[in-house]
């Protein structure tokens, strides 16, 4: 048969590299490996932090020491050795770039390779970008334009220096350092991240975007993002991630806090494409992230994520629907291939009356991967007339991967309406045949069908992100049907 068999295809793709697996050759400033109070003091002093923040860190560190790693997720991995990680790595001479020209050319090249050349972005899309390489934020564009509107969008470190009161007021209020093992670790050692504040009644006119990248070897990335939308404000925030290809497992333990005050709306989109490890499961990023948003009255938070990367993912972007009539949404596509493991989902905590949540999760498992949806819908006593709708679908591409669904539904209010549906099946043979009959190759057909299957989620992404996400899906699934 003259057919290009799946096996041949798989072989061809086996050697296909992770597109973002390059290392940027910039001089990096690091501190000694390991973790103790002195390291934390060192990080804090390097960042010239106020005393309250150092205290916050030390406090978190003490808490962390008493905690143990969570083990309830449906993932298996060798626990990171926390004393072998470097907790601070910064591209040298990062001190405040006065202008775009001051930025290290190597770094610019990195950004170009990532497809996020700032210049391009500026010109074409009007997206404001903050770029966090390793632990330090290197460039934020469009700052002045945003400033006119009173919007603050800067690196977390800068925010600590420039707007300490705002940071102090909100940081850790949604995810306390006691929340979980990785949140505690992050609170102790976080080095940078993004900060965003949209003042009352302001609609942020452009998408704000941060690109995270781990570059240096042996480091962990612990960034912190805090987005506050004041009353009636609106912002759409994008986050993208990549990392070089390394044999070791790198740790990424981020914390993202969103606060949507009365009538505010935050749309938070992530395309997560950390290095997933090679086809034998060697290397790759451990992505242990805590993300949570709080909605006051009539506010709305919408999480959209496309997860294709990381060796192990543990992540549940959540919404606390505290205010009456607040709305939480979670749209997720999680693709796992080879030996990737993902345990991801959301928590919707309904506290206020007439609160509404929607969960759309599309899992796609290929290779030897394990892909789990884990979610909690909790309706509290006073959450009258609250609604939840969840749809969790899993698509299986091979007979040696796994797809799992673990929803928790807890209801204490009789006027609430909760609907959860889940399906698991294989990619439709009939659909594949139909496409092929129309002249579409198997690989294109899979990509087409999978993209269609994820449409509801991809539709939530801003245009340019959606295109990137579709490409990523195609790359992640190449040669995956078995």
């Amino acid at each position: 048969m003259g057919q290009y068999t799946e096996n041949e295809l798989a072989k061809d793709l086996e050697n296909q590299d992770y597109k973002f697996g390059f290392v940027t050759d910039v001089e990096t400033e690091t501190i000694p490996v390991g973790l103790n109070e002195d390291i934390i003091r060192l990080i804090s002093s390097k960042k010239e932090e106020p005393a309250w923040l150092l205290d916050y860190r030390l406090n978190a560190y003490k808490t962390w020491l008493t905690m143990s790693e969570p083990d309830w997720a449906h993932v298996r991995y060798k626990k990171p050795e926390f004393q072998k990680i470097t907790y601070y790595a910064a591209p040298k001479q990062t001190k405040k770039y006065e202008s775009w020209d001051d930025v290290d050319p190597e770094m610019k090249e990195t950004m170009a390779k990532l497809g996020i050349s700032l210049e391009e972005q500026k010109r074409l899309t009007g997206v404001a970008v903050d770029f966090v390489m390793d632990s330090v934020s290197v460039a934020t564009s469009f700052k002045s334009k945003l400033k006119e509107l009173g919007i603050i969008f800067c690196s977390f470190s800068e925010a600590v220096q420039e707007y300490p009161e705002l940071v102090r007021e909100h940081m850790g209020t949604i995810i306390p350092h006691t929340d979980n093992f990785y949140a505690a670790l992050n609170a102790a050692v976080f080095t940078d991240g993004s900060f965003c504040y949209i003042p009352k009644g302001v609609r942020c006119p452009m998408e704000l975007s941060t690109y995270f990248r781990i570059n240096a070897g042996g480091t962990g990335q612990f960034e912190r993002t805090l987005v506050v939308a004041d009353e009636g404000a609106y912002v759409s925030y994008l986050e993208g991630c990549t990392a070089p290809q390394r044999d070791e497992n790198q740790l990424h333990a981020a914390v993202v806090e969103l606060k949507a005050l009365k009538d505010a709306e935050i749309k938070y989109s992530t395309v997560q494409n950390w290095y997933p490890g090679d086809k034998n499961g060697v290397g790759g990023v451990f992505n242990f992230v805590t993300k949570r948003g709080l909605c006051e009255t009539n506010a709305k938070i919408s999480w959209t994520q496309v997860e294709t990367g990381s060796a192990v993912t543990w992540k549940y972007p959540s919404c606390i629907l505290k205010g009456d009539h607040s709305v939480g949404e979670f749209y997720s596509v999680a693709v796992t291939n080879n030996h990737q493991q993902a345990d991801t989902g959301t928590k919707m905590i309904h506290l206020g009356k007439h609160t509404k949540s929607t969960i759309i999760s599309k899992g796609i498992s290929a290779g030897d991967s394990q892909n789990s949806y884990r979610g909690l819908v909790q309706i509290h006593k006073n959450a009258h007339k609250s609604r939840n709708f969840s749809q969790c679908d899993s698509l299986l591409m091979t007979d040696h991967c796994g797809a799992h669904t673990f929803p928790y539904i807890e209801c204490k209010n009789p006027s609430a309406q909760i609907e959860h549906e889940a399906t698991t099946s294989k990619i439709g043979e009939d659909q594949l045949f139909y496409c092929k009959q129309r002249g579409i190759s198997e690989e294109k057909a899979i990509s087409l069908i999978v993209n269609g299957y994820c449409k509801e989620v991809l539709n939530q992404l801003p245009m340019e992100f959606a295109v990137e996400a579709q490409k990523l899906l195609a790359i992640s699934l190449e040669g995956s049907v078995g």
């Binding site: 048969m1 003259g2 057919q3 290009y4 439709g428 009939d430 659909q431 045949f433 139909y434 496409c435 092929k436 009959q437 129309r438 002249g439 579409i440 190759s441 198997e442 294109k444 087409l448 069908i449 993209n451 269609g452 299957y453 994820c454 449409k455 509801e456």
Partner: protein, 251 residues
């Protein structure tokens, strides 16, 4: 155009086609009729390259190529089109996107450049008129939530867009109301030319009033047991299949 010789095929160990022979030349319309379960859809599926069937004997030449040696999409690239008896739904994939991918994949296979967006949209507009397909349907997901009749019309719309050499229409008339039947038939007739051909599988003589066949074949028990002109269809309509079944048993 296509030459099917002594085709035998099994599914799950059961023989469905038992020595089927049929030749279709350019410019011809062939109708295939036959009782339920005779193997009509099986023939269509095998021509299109569905892998569940095992071909145990026979050969098929299409446009000079050994059809059975080609993959499904290669057959499509050569200009073979199957209008499915049960068109499948593909949620989230818009008709337009689907067709553009199909056209470009075919063009790529032929070493041609992809179709420009403008040209493509113009074509969509032109061809959807032929089957009087609501333009809204073109932007909806492939067949998703389409009524039975809309699905069938969409098949003909796709056929118009892909402009095949040989179209196999598997019961495209079933489930159509009178108007839709006329529209679909009209579509098929409009697309008819001296360089292409079609095989129309149907149960009803009615369709053949609109699409006048050059030949009518009766498929029974995995073989073509009788061939005639359009009058044969009328005779079948009147007398059913029993007399043919008897005839073949005697033979």
């Amino acid at each position: 155009m296509i030459e099917i010789k002594n085709l035998h095929a099994n599914i799950e160990g059961k023989e469905i086609l038992k020595g089927l022979t049929l030749t279709v030349n350019a410019g011809e319309v062939h109708a295939i009729m036959g009782p339920n379960g005779a193997g009509k859809s099986t023939l269509a599926s095998i021509l299109a390259g569905r892998e569940e069937y095992e071909i145990t004997e026979g050969e098929v030449t299409f446009e000079g190529a050994d059809l059975l040696d080609l993959s499904t999409e290669e057959r499509a690239h050569l200009g073979l089109f199957l209008a499915f008896q049960y068109p499948v739904e593909i949620p989230g994939v818009s008709n337009v996107n689907f067709l553009r991918t199909a056209i470009n994949e075919t063009r790529e296979a032929k070493g041609e450049d992809p179709i420009s967006a403008k040209e493509f949209m113009a074509m969509v507009r032109e061809k959807s008129k032929i089957v009087e397909l609501d333009s809204k349907l073109a932007s909806r997901s492939v067949n998703e939530g389409f009524s039975g009749g809309e699905k069938k019309r969409n098949e003909i719309f796709q056929m118009a867009m892909l402009n095949p050499k040989l179209a196999v229409l598997d019961e495209t008339d079933s489930g159509l109301d009178i108007d839709a039947l006329r529209i679909v038939a009209n579509g098929v007739n409009t697309l008819k030319s001296a360089d292409n051909a079609s095989i129309v599988i149907t149960h009803y003589q009615r369709l053949l009033d609109y699409i006048v066949p050059d030949f009518v074949h009766v498929l029974h028990d995995g073989k073509i047991v009788k061939t005639g002109n359009k009058d044969l269809a009328l005779e079948l309509e009147e007398k059913g299949y029993d007399w043919i079944k008897e005839e073949t048993q005697v033979g």
